[in-house]
Symmetry: C2
Subunit: 518 residues, 2 copies
Amino acid sequence: MTTPTLPIRRVGIDTWRESVVFLHRECPVVRAAGFQALAKVKVQANGQTLIAVLNVVDDEAICAPRELGLSEEAFRRLGVAPGHPARIEQAEPPPSIAALHRKIAGERLERDDLRAIVQDIAAGRYSKIELAAFVVATNQFELDRDEVLHLTEAMIVSGQRIDWQREVGAGPVVDKHCIGGIPGNRTSMLVVPIVAAHGMLCPKTSSRAITSPAGTADTMEVLAEVELPMERLKEIVRATHGCLAWGGTADLSPADDILISVERPLAIDSPGQMVASILSKKVAAGATHLVLDIPVGPTAKVRSMASAQRLKRLFEYVATRLGLELDAVITDGRQPIGRGIGPVLEARDVMQVLANEPGAPQDLRQKALRLAGRMIEFDPDVRGGDGYRIARDILESGRALAQMNAIIDAQGRRAEPLAVGRLHFDVTAPADGGVVGVDNLRLARIARLSGAPQVRGAGVDLFVKLGDTVRAGQPLYRVHAQFEADLEFSRRMALDGSGYTLGRVDTAAHENTTGEAS
Amino acid sequence: MTTPTLPIRRVGIDTWRESVVFLHRECPVVRAAGFQALAKVKVQANGQTLIAVLNVVDDEAICAPRELGLSEEAFRRLGVAPGHPARIEQAEPPPSIAALHRKIAGERLERDDLRAIVQDIAAGRYSKIELAAFVVATNQFELDRDEVLHLTEAMIVSGQRIDWQREVGAGPVVDKHCIGGIPGNRTSMLVVPIVAAHGMLCPKTSSRAITSPAGTADTMEVLAEVELPMERLKEIVRATHGCLAWGGTADLSPADDILISVERPLAIDSPGQMVASILSKKVAAGATHLVLDIPVGPTAKVRSMASAQRLKRLFEYVATRLGLELDAVITDGRQPIGRGIGPVLEARDVMQVLANEPGAPQDLRQKALRLAGRMIEFDPDVRGGDGYRIARDILESGRALAQMNAIIDAQGRRAEPLAVGRLHFDVTAPADGGVVGVDNLRLARIARLSGAPQVRGAGVDLFVKLGDTVRAGQPLYRVHAQFEADLEFSRRMALDGSGYTLGRVDTAAHENTTGEAS
């Protein structure tokens, strides 16, 4: 006996990483199998199999009674043309659901359990509800460090893995990553050309912004192509020792992307999940040596030095067992880095630093030199403590700028010039005072409402930083936007709270709070 | 400044308790506000407000760029006509999300926290992902008994509450509930007429089957109308002292229904959630006295006597503090009760018992008398230990049948006769032996695949029970279905495993295992 087939219909709904099957309420298969809404179903067509969640439809314009509708994600995963006959049946739960239930019940999972769960996640066999259950059950109080290690390993093997040493040549493959949360913190675009100019392999694949106003990929895209096929990327790295590309073209740690789709709306980013996410992506991208930036501050992701130290040790534990050399650096995360927040504004800051312009933002320059120095010290021929000086020499000599231009040309230089949004407004100081607080989250939110990162020229340009003194009416920052509605959204948010706290400033402390030790 | 309005469009997708807003990818609002897929959005129209999850659509047949699409649930909740202009903006997180995050982090929640969470859930402000997070975070190892109490209280006040004593008259309002999991366990349809014949108020509102092959409402519907407006229900209870109605017409503990929509696909049913769900529904439905049936067995929900005792104590703790008199009875849950599994077959069993037919299933009769006896002992004029005898007298005298007929007539007797499905097959014993195991879960699954409960006459009819001896080829049970496909689905499942375990039977033990002490 066989179940009847139904022709596939592509239903243009973006269910964001969840495979959804649509069946009409009057579909004979719905009746016969007693399918319930949100049931897990298995679709088979042309030798391909898909596990999806069922949504029942009452409108024939979406899906007729004798059609099998697939959401965009489901359609992409099944990979079979519209009209092709497909069979549907109730799906058995994914094999790893028993392990998920044990984790929900508070048990410790073994390596094989986590491997099975991550495989099912990467294959799209978990529903949003099951993903949420996994994310909550594995939050910070539930995963011990070996579980984090096994989760990371499982995420690495869930996708592709790049072997730069085989592709390009021997020597360490150095990378740099920040755990995030600090607007304007665009150091990658400085450390890559510096370290590549030193002769080390620094092939950086970055993400686009998820909740921030700009990711490195978004910012680099202001200057050059970033969506590059793997073969092009290898040529570029062979020629220039570095790249600044979007990581999404390679299939690196795909389970991570799927988990993020649930962690983001839940605003859960526990240490274990953060470590597994970052290290799996880095190892899959081929890094052998990693400098990790952990900013600490009252509005940063990590808010106390004790938490930063705990997180650092967890990163170190897992990295060591993965064979990844890790140098974790705790940095000042009390305010945004540089002046610009948003792709075009951040790219401007980066190019000012590379060009050694006198007005370039010094905090961005100092932080980039510090991180690049630590990366250069992965070079066995460099003495401990010499990295910063070597990085500074490369920057000041113009070799970093030349290297950046080589990378931009290799990736494909953008023809159009940088341009900030055509509209703007200034947020001014309500009274005389000193800047005693700058809220990273607030400024990121204002920048996003102004249109960043989708609108490349939108964002926030900071005129003053912690420790600066201002007069009443003096501009604190300027918000750029391209569209009226965006300008108004961000203006409303800025009026609600500028993100700046003014107080009596202690001029003696000024030098210490704005300059950063290297 | 105001955001532009968009006309409402009703999108015929049943998202099962989740409010979804559909916007076209090219919709100017999507661009302007930088909405992301799965973002929480706030819709305002005609003075009404709705919180929903955003799905981005690429197909104008579903939702055009200048329309605002609403899923069936969202449309129902907003309650504004299609075409009406609506405004949409990014939603602030529901007020209780901070408390949810504290629970995820392992903290104990206070009464006010749980009140706020349940209010937001009842108002539809939680996404499926957030609901799953709550369900997992409050699983059995995470809720202490006061949290269960506060969750129950919050669920009671989230909806309507019926006051039978004000509506109908003084005296206890007695109810009976089983925690579920035992097929054929249709005792409610026996205890209600018995207890009502004794003169006590027994207004029973039941659910339809969620994952089982029949709920009490589904089975009663074979005989009478069950979807009754509140005013009709009150008249019926005034006239007959009892009713057997579907509880869905009253808005009782609506947060419970929403939580179930996530607990079901996750197959999570922790003690705390079970207690809150059952007791909130019972108190909201106006019960003052409750007999609770906790079946124990290897394929029941509760698998050991120790777990049953723990669960009993949790029920007792919460019920006492809610002012609900509770008598929890631990019963034999090693196999289905009665013979039929499925609405028509179970209704047949019930009517045989009420009619005192000699062939009526004795286990169902005995269990119903035991439970009814405990309910009758809530009557202050009944001596402890006399309940069972009173119940048996009511049943044997025919007064229970007369009372049931009165209730059926009051609710509206169905015109059509009972009819089992037109198709059937028998599952037979593969060898001589004694029945040593009957799998509740397997038989429930076979019954569901045969079409129950949607197909009222579908299901499984058991010919032998634990302790019976069979010869090779002798039928163990018959599966009834109405449709070929259903018959084949259930046949495949039964061939995969009949649910019966045969072994050498110890005839001496026979009497003890099939009969049940009262």
